[in-house]
Symmetry: C2
Subunit: 419 residues, 2 copies
């Protein structure tokens, strides 16, 4: 078994954390921003020093490839992203890129023989924090392979017109042109030139840490449903409307929300569901709210459980506290199972390395999820301290990061043994 270098991993984690350093432990590194360009330059510099050939595609995804002994074979790609949310941490996304770099470095330094080309890749704009939506460029690249319901959110022309949330006017296309990273469409990841894709990522949840496991062998991306629950009441003056005449949409919404919790809590304990967003109109302290809308996001591997969720939501009472209530599906996704053979390679690698591990599913979306519609794909998780992500507190000890990279390395090498 080969293993990666803790010192090199630490060096890369420390170096990358400077690009977009927000000054208090975390980073803000929007896609194609100056900070993100610095991270890309660091990636390219280090990959070139390993003899990698650098390409970019038409949406600025970067591919650093070391040749295998038979370059006619389709390549193996390891990919993640260098962009972050606002005030994000030093692990989400970037750790997958760092691990891919480390695999390339280890193979090069230790002259590990391999038949296939091996590529470390950066996906552009995974977070979509500056130019929505999230997973924009894997959505574009995998477009033809995505289910229609997902695909419709990633039309190339729409993506190019995505407007900066900061200034409300500059577009993703402008950022792309300005970046210097726009290349040929023909360089895009595709199932003819590549045989497999791997993504190492932090878990973004507390399970591995709570169970004392070093590695999560990811098997699937959870199926999910996404609803908007809409409550309509009547806006009236807070000081002049007796209680008995009121139709308070926020009061009704609170009752609906708690009613949903009570029912959903009786379903399978592995179900996760979230009411994360609420909109209240007019949202003025002296006016009774006439309209409230909240989101409901529910995820489970088993479609039977998801169907139970749907049944509960579709049976919400249509009137609560004199307000009308309705539920509208925003979108749904079936559980996406990662490639069984690749998952087995990950499991074998972890076992052979002797790292503690468990099978785990991915509740979050990743570029790997879109890639899996196009070519054999899987993921490797490492623990997230306290389960935190998308915040400056993100942390994974370097020992576990290195174990993750070692699992990635051995998995890639197992994959390389195939014809």
């Amino acid at each position: 078994m080969y293993t990666c270098s803790k010192e090199r991993m630490q060096d890369k984690i420390s170096t990358m954390s400077k690009y977009g350093d927000a000054g208090h432990g975390g980073i803000t590194r929007y896609s194609l921003s100056e900070a993100a360009i610095q991270a890309r330059e660091e990636f390219i510099k280090r990959m070139k020093s390993c003899g990698a050939e650098i390409k970019t595609d038409d949406v600025a995804n970067v591919y650093a490839t070391i040749k295998g002994s038979d370059p006619s074979l389709p390549g193996i790609v390891m990919a993640s992203h260098v962009d972050s949310v606002k005030n994000g941490g030093n692990y989400d996304g970037i750790l997958g890129v760092i691990s891919a770099m480390e695999v390339i470095e280890t193979i090069t330094k230790e002259k590990i023989p391999h038949k296939h080309n091996i590529t470390a890749m950066i996906w552009t704009n995974e977070e979509g924090s500056l130019y929505p939506p999230a997973m924009m460029c894997s959505g574009i690249v995998c477009y033809d392979y995505l289910p229609e319901e997902i695909r419709k959110n990633f039309r190339y022309e729409d993506m190019m017109r995505s407007v900066s949330v900061l200034d409300g006017s500059s577009t993703f296309q402008e950022a792309l042109e300005k970046s210097g990273y726009k290349g040929e469409k023909s360089n895009r990841l595709n199932p003819k030139d590549y045989k497999a894709m791997f993504e190492l990522h932090i878990e973004q949840g507390p399970i591995l840490e709570a169970e004392g496991k070093d590695i999560g062998v990811v098997t699937c991306v959870l199926g999910m449903v996404n609803y908007r629950i809409k409550i309509t009441g009547q806006a009236d003056h807070a000081g002049t409307t007796p209680m008995k005449y009121r139709k308070d949409a926020l009061f009704a919404a609170a009752k609906v929300l708690i009613g949903l919790h009570e029912k959903l809590d009786r379903l399978d304990p592995d179900l996760v569901y979230t009411t994360g967003e609420i909109v209240c109109h007019p949202n003025v302290h002296t006016v009774i709210p006439d309209y409230v809308e909240f989101s409901l996001d529910a995820r489970h591997e088993d479609p039977k459980v998801i169907r139970q969720v749907v049944e509960i939501i579709e049976n919400i009472p249509s009137e609560v506290e004199k307000c009308s209530v309705s539920a509208q599906t925003a979108w749904t996704r079936d559980t996406v199972y990662y490639d069984k053979k690749l998952v087995d390679y990950v499991q074998e690698s972890v076992d052979e390395l002797g790292y503690s591990n468990r099978k785990i599913n991915s509740g979050a979306g990743h570029d790997a999820q879109f890639a899996s519609y196009m070519l054999p794909t899987t993921m490797i998780f490492v623990p997230s301290k306290d389960g935190h992500s998308h915040c400056e507190e993100e942390f994974t000890p370097v020992e576990q990061c290195t174990k993750g990279a070692s699992v990635l390395l051995n998995t890639v090498l197992k994959c390389d043994k195939e014809d």
Copy 2:
């Protein structure tokens, strides 16, 4: 008894509704906007044709005065506002100005003798919709007479720096300078030159209509407390955090909100309380909310009931669903009783005119409330259809508007009979 003219009232209502006409039944007429200036010009034109003398003070309040037989006596003022909220209606504020105009016109046309000067007045920026806060210019003019806790919100310098909610940069002071209505500070309403102020207003609630009454004889402005309820949880990923590890601030907030309703509903049935505003962070459908804050506004005439409210709020459990909960007073106001003698004049006028009526309190804030700290003041209410206000559906039949104006006229004349 004198009565006002329904035809003239209708004409003024129709004319004023053109200024800021939003094209679908209501108006948007921000203070000192072009539409508000047009309404002021209409006011001045009609008042000048009655022989009124026009003055403005340093915050663009407009005073149209017809001389009494003894101009050395302090004057009687009838005032309200011509500005509206966004997509407001044709009655809130403007009906008080129209009624004051109608009183002046009736006195002039019918040559009704009066000793005191009688003034129709426009308060600038009552709604504070473009330049917060509401009741800005009565706050400025009555500043020295306001309780410290209220006064601190109306410092002249702060008001001048109030920034447009539309462009985020232009200030109230700039709007004031530009309006052409900035006059002398010495022209301000004051208790030496004026003996009483009256404000006719729509009820903005459903009570008069529900009870079939034409006129509300207002006795007081309800005492109130205003709290911010704050709930702190932990932001985590919606897809990766098992339910048992969550600290969901929105779920906790819904429980706190309903718990408050349950307790407050057991207090006096005349208590009105509202949770009108909610803020949720980060308010993203894929993230468990870590912070939610909502407003609680409670109003009642009796301070004992308000104290019961405070006791309930201050005894909110400090932890709900693993989230921490706290309550913070935003501001409070004791019940403000209007001038007893003036209230009696209103009651006598209504009774003599034979209009159906009831005593009523004002749950909403009005410029009259601030004026009442400075000089004898009271209000007259007319019904609001379905209790609606601050919306395009605002409506009061012209018959009731005219009855209101007639009550105002006779009340002013009763007041005029004093020395």
